[in-house]
Structures are given as C-alpha cells and as structure tokens.
C-alpha cells in the first residue's frame, strides 16, 4: 500500500509526506495533476489525497479519472476553499470523503 499526495502547495505537500512517513507508510508526492497522471494509475490498495484546487488539471478531474479505473484506489479530497465552492465541486463527483484545511493529523490517520 502506498499513499499518493497530489497537492500544489509545497508546505502542505511536504508536511503530509512527513506525516505519512512518520506513520510508517510509503508516500509519493505530486505537485500537480499532470505529474500524477503521468506516473500511471495507483494500485487498488493505495490511498490518494487530492487537493481540489490544483492549477492546470483540476482536483475534480483527477478524482473523476481515478473513478474510471477498473480497480480504483481509495480517494480523499482535501481543500481550503470556502464551503460553497467545495460543494459545487463535489456535486459533480462520485461520492468522495472530504477533509478541509487546516488538516488535523488524526483525520488523516483515520484513512491510513
């Protein structure tokens, strides 16, 4: 099992990576949706944390793409956007758990 982190903010990406590593998991971090897609589909037992507000290919697009995979990994959306914006983005998506920033480590750990 591998943890994928798709997050454009350097601090958040790096801190998530540190945290997940501290919990003893192998983590892979991507600064945008494009580099995540290029890396190929994750394994079915993997977990993908996707920031909704990515530059370029949006977080929603990444989540939609993951949902089309035959053996889709678990996906957790993260966002610091206002509630209304988030709702608008999630409405068009397959049901996806959401964590709002600032993130609590316990909330992350609950998915690991």
């Amino acid at each position: 099992m591998r943890i994928h982190i798709v997050e454009d903010d350097f601090g958040v990406r790096d801190a998530l990576t540190e945290l997940v590593s501290a919990f003893g998991f192998a983590a892979r971090a991507y600064a945008d949706g494009e580099s995540f897609l290029r890396a190929g589909p994750p394994g079915p037992s993997d977990i993908v944390f996707v920031d909704l507000g990515l530059p370029g290919i949006s977080g929603s697009d990444v989540i939609r793409w993951l949902a089309t995979q035959a053996r889709a990994p678990r996906v957790v959306a993260i966002s610091g956007k206002p509630r209304a914006d988030i709702d608008a983005m999630l409405r068009e998506l397959p049901s996806t758990p959401l964590l709002r920033k600032p993130l609590e480590a316990d909330a992350i750990a609950a998915y690991l």
């Binding site: 903010d9 601090g11 958040v12 790096d14 801190a15 998530l16 540190e18 945290l19 590593s21 501290a22 919990f23 507000g53 530059p55 370029g56 610091g80 956007k81 206002p82 920033k101 600032p102 993130l103 609590e104 480590a105 992350i108």
Partner: protein, 418 residues
Amino acid sequence: MHQSTTGGGDGQAGEQPAIRADVDPGGHPGLGSVSDARWASILNTAVDGIIVIDEQARIMIFNRACERMFGFAAEEVVGRNVAMLMPPEHAADHDAYVEGYMRTGHRRIIGIGREVRARHRDGTLFPIDLSVGEAPTPDGRQFVGILRDLTSRKDAERRLNELQADLIRLARVSALDEMGSALAHELNQPLTAIMLYLQAVGREFARAKEMGHTAEADARADAILEKARREAHRAGSIIQRIRSLVEKRAPERKEVELNTIVDDAVDLTIIGQDRNVTIVRDYQAGLPTLRIDPVQIQQVVVNLVRNAYEAVKGRRGGRIVVSTSQDDRHALVAIEDSGPGIPREVLTDLFQAFKTGKRSGMGLGLAISRTIAQNHGGDLSVDPGGEGRGARFVVRLPLRPQDEERTEDDEPGETRAD
C-alpha cells in the same frame, strides 16, 4: 417713502414691509432715493446677506437673508451698532476701526472682502465671507456689507474630506473582504503544514521513546521542526502584509522605490487568484525614488490588478502585464490586461464613484484610485483597448513632488485686523 410701493411689477413687493430701510431711526433716508419697493424686493430676495450701516456703525438695512443667518428680525437690530453681530473680541474694537478709517482712510476690510466670523443670536460664531463697499450719500458715508454664510460650505468641505478618507479606507476594507476567503485559504496552507509537521515530530519522538534516541532520529526531528518554523514564518508574513494594507493610519509620504512597492502589491493581489493567468512584471531599473504614500499607492496597484483579473476571468490565455517606467516628469505604473477592453458606453462613467460599473464594483475602486493618484500630484488614466486589445490603466506620479508643501504657502499673509 417717496414712491408708491405698489405696482412694483411683482405682487409680492406690496406685502413686503420688510424693506428695513424704511425703519430708519436716525432720520436717515435709507439708501437715498432708491429705497423703493423694488429695492425691498431685491434686498429680500438676495441669497446673500446685505447689511448697510452708517458712519456710526448703526445698522440701517438688514435683509431677509441676514435674518435667517443671524436669527434676528430686522426690527431687532436696525438702529443698533453692527458690533452686536461680531465675535466679542472684534466687537469691542469695531467702532475704533470705523473711526480710524473715517479719519485716515486706512482700509482694513473695505473693498477687500475676506472670511470672518459672525455671531448668531444664540451666541455661536459662524464663518462668513464678508465684502464691504462704501457709498457716499448726502447724509454721510454708508457701508454696504455683503455676507455669504460659509457654514454649509465649510461643513460640506469637511464632510467631503471625511467621506473621502472613509471611502479610501472602505475600499481598502472591502478589497480585503473580497480577498478574505482567498486569504483564509492562503493562511490555511502554512497552518496545515505546521500542524502536520508537529504531528510528524510527535510520532518521531514517540518512536524514539520506545526504541531509544539515535543521532539520526534527532536530526530528522530537527529538520521537521525547522520546516514547521518556516511555515509559521510564512503565515506571519502573510498577516503582516495584509495588516499594512488595512490598518487605519494617517497618510504618510516617504521616499520609496516604486518597483519594490509595486512588486509587493502584485504579490499580495495574486494570492488566491486564478493561477492560470500569467502575470508579467516588467519594471524599469534605476527609477528615482518617489516621495509618496506607499500604502495608498499599493492600494491603487492592488485595485488595478484585481480589476485586470476580473477582466480576463474565464478567458483562455489570460495575461496581465504590470510595468513601471518614466517620462520626463513622471514615474508611470501601467497595468494591462488581455481582456476584452472597456466598452465606450462604460468609459465615460468609469471613474465615477457611484455609477454602478458594468464590471463588479470597479467604479468605487477606480474613483478612489484616481483620487489617490491626484492627491499625489499625479493622475490615473486608461486606454480602453477593445477590438482584440485589453484595457491599459496608467498611474502617473510626479518625479518631484510639487504639491505637498505648497498648500500652506498658498494662503497669502492675512492681515488680522478686522
């Protein structure tokens, strides 16, 4: 009176016994032969206050406008010394002034006109613009004072100034309000990182407790803590930059590098904005420092860049160019967008504060931005673009401030002797 008061052409004249000239206690024939109904009408419909006094400074004529201004009925003041309408410190000396003038011809106010204070019936003082002319009559000299109440104008000026200051602040606050969610988002990032870093360090410590400290584990924890500090610093600097924009403060001019403050303002504005918009910064090196209020000028730049974002919203290949340059007398800041340009019909009202702009809330911001630029002796202009070109706003700021110190010297040395 010599002539009939009826048939003066306007029916009112006959009902106006209020030609106070005919209440003439000293036996003076008012304004001579002209004191007829027509005169009464003129006097009493005049917007300005009109007072006529004789050589002894006794009030002969006190028109309607004066009654409103001073709160006295004409009957109450005619025949009395005009000093009753002056502030006490001048009232005491007025007779001596008049007498001095009669003797020496030395003018203090006659033929000059100036702003003085007058005393209302209730004792309050109010500013008036007073000009005094002199009329020789068979019965001696008379002095005609034309009075304009400056209270409302002063009030209006003061209110305008206050309003302007409020508006400038309001625009700052509302800009911040709109930026609020973007800023919350921006602060969220370092806060999230800090929280996660600290949890990660906690895990490292927990592990060290179980398995014993190793130099390697300590170094790892240190490295993470250092990263947490870096993020805390990032959060702090975001707050600092915002604070410098919103705190209420007196305008303050100092020597600053234009490029630096423009760049800071751009940094601040792009927070939370659409990152698919390209920002090009094209600053001319070696500009002389300017004596300006950096916060106000930054506010203008924030405003213009935010407008530019609005203009390119939803368009492919959005692009905003922020540039600085100079001509022979001005430093220039230009903000150009790749939007659709500004339609002609919007252009005329573009800088009007309370015309509802076609682009959301742009009017107020632009009106204030122009005011700020003009207060600095500069201006804000726009090339509206259109037909494939975006709008280009240009802020001009004088290289040498000419206006700042001058206001005080503008007042000619006033002779304080009325």
